[in-house]
Symmetry: C2
Subunit: 417 residues, 2 copies
Amino acid sequence: MADRKTRIVMKFGGTSVADLDRIRNVAARVKREVAAGNEVAVVVSAMAGVTNQLVKYCQDLSPLHDQREYDAVVATGEQVTSGLTAIALQEIGVSARSYQGWQIPLRTDDQHGKARIESVDGATLIAAMQASIVPVVAGFQGVGPDDRVATLGRGGSDTSAVALAAALKADRCDIYTDVDGIYTTDPRVVPKARKIARVAYEEMLELASVGAKVLQTRSVELAMKMRVRVQVLSSFASDNILGGDLPGSLVVDEDEIVEQEIVSGIAYSRDEAKITVRHIPDRPGVAAAIFGPLSAAGVNVDMIVQNIGADTSSTDLTFTIGKTDLPRAKAVLGEHQEKIGFAELVADADVAKISVVGVGMRSHAGVANTMFTALAAKGINIQVISTSEIKVSVLIGADYTELAVRALHTAYGLDAA
Amino acid sequence: MADRKTRIVMKFGGTSVADLDRIRNVAARVKREVAAGNEVAVVVSAMAGVTNQLVKYCQDLSPLHDQREYDAVVATGEQVTSGLTAIALQEIGVSARSYQGWQIPLRTDDQHGKARIESVDGATLIAAMQASIVPVVAGFQGVGPDDRVATLGRGGSDTSAVALAAALKADRCDIYTDVDGIYTTDPRVVPKARKIARVAYEEMLELASVGAKVLQTRSVELAMKMRVRVQVLSSFASDNILGGDLPGSLVVDEDEIVEQEIVSGIAYSRDEAKITVRHIPDRPGVAAAIFGPLSAAGVNVDMIVQNIGADTSSTDLTFTIGKTDLPRAKAVLGEHQEKIGFAELVADADVAKISVVGVGMRSHAGVANTMFTALAAKGINIQVISTSEIKVSVLIGADYTELAVRALHTAYGLDAA
């Protein structure tokens, strides 16, 4: 008796299905996997631009629109692509049919507009695959407890794909996008950046959240929890479909990575802003007095450093937030100035956060020191430092971003030969 | 205890929901009916142009695409409008929610792409209305026996609305369109055309099928069968929504029309072509030999006249078909020329069919004669005549269309004062 076939979930993002030619290209890639003897399920996003148009309709009609109606409207983008992709597959001789969330069903909670997946019934899709029919699933959507369409929030198609891969016990979840893998850093900044063959879930989470916008963070969290092996690869590369895809990057469990580098990659983000609150009384409760109101206003604080001020009865507090939250944060702190008792607020949006990431750090000392030495050698001033088990981040002047990324990429031996 | 509220289904076509401003206008009209104390359910079409784009996608990918996938793709147009209309209603303080076919459910047969409605469960929508929520139903769609989305064919939203009105036992089904009612003839041809206050179902069927393209024929058939009172009115007229809508035209049972005109309207169609098959043997079975192959090729034959030929052993046969079928009909007859045994085939696409329609004809003689006299007075030659209980149609040269329509409109006393 033959072994079970290799089962693959293939997910294609908005740029990969942007027009009919791209959809035909997707169909050809799917056909190739089927012809290789694999069982395949497909997940598709909306055609690029469609979702934005639908979101705009809702916002223009009502800034505070009913999220349940927003979901009914916006989910149509993926429904269209799933039907068109099924037609494109049939046209080249591959049996296929589209599935919407409610037809699977893929059940979510009731948080319309940003719902979380609660369960995926794999039986229907597995039966289809075993009957040699390729299911083409509309990503980004499921059905809520109210039997209404619910969407998973922007970028949710990655999460759909990973959840389906888990439910189908797929051997791999291939995420096709417009880049051909995860790189040691942004190749536009460092031409010598290398594609990483295997990256651990936890590394990917750090890389994703600090600037390498390849996979949605939620999808990586889910992949880690469900132990789904995710491959990132390009739907644009090797359009000679006879040649097969170039291998992408695999996001897998740490244990699957035999030769672990100490540092896997260098990420950067220019989406941060720095706030320094000066001359606050140095007494218990003052941090809560500052961060309580910010939290209540939905402002997320990232790095925090407390400095010793000039006179010992007062102190300075520096922290970073998302750049878009800066006006709101300044307003909130201004309202509470008397209660907190600070003298002055200094904001700086002209900063960048640079992070070195690697699960190998856990067992290696000196990683941070290599960073500080490399930056000092280039005369780059470090404003704030924060560390985690597998990451060291520094805040520097935004002008130094590329210089710092290149220096660190070399210092950690990541440059391609 | 109060009487049951008046229950109205309001249906808005593609031009009535063409953009966000039109959708806001629809919401205002619905609000007015709700404010007047009525129970209202709304049915919407796709925004004008959207369905054509989606159909084109399917056709471009595969001329013989899977109709089930076509349905999944094309039905999204109405889904978007239903969600947007619900948002627009909520924005002006009217509780509303969208419904897709599968959520009602509105069940159809398995003829994807041109499905027929099998049942409509009114319970969910009635419960919504009784809870003062306006259901906004995506028209043109239901769910097939395979639990997949099924569409009703072009113009199917009218049929959705009538079927819902029957299921909800609505007092009236208001079809909002870009004309403000049914006219005695095309007002572009006859400026003195009058709006008809009440027209019988059977008259409407004749008027719709011969050129007055206001209501889809299937929706009128269904309304007649289910005894749904249909009102046609404009969503463009009287945009001063405080003023209320002008009354439209009611399509009702013959019995509801007290002062029945003999002739209700004059319709015309330029979509016909005439074929004359000359010198065919005058023997039994020859008509079947001609019309059998045409029927097998999907060519619909309308009027038929058999002429006596010059010599008595042969005859001529003249009939009309849709203009778009002409090339196919010529090809089919050419293939069968030997078998049928005709000498010559003469085709003429330069014809028009003019019809006078009225249920009052049943009890009045002389209607056809008035027609022939009026046309003769203008020197218009009649090529073919056909009659039914409530209609007399003639085929004439296309150049004479307007002249004939105007002459008949006057002859039957239909001109406005």
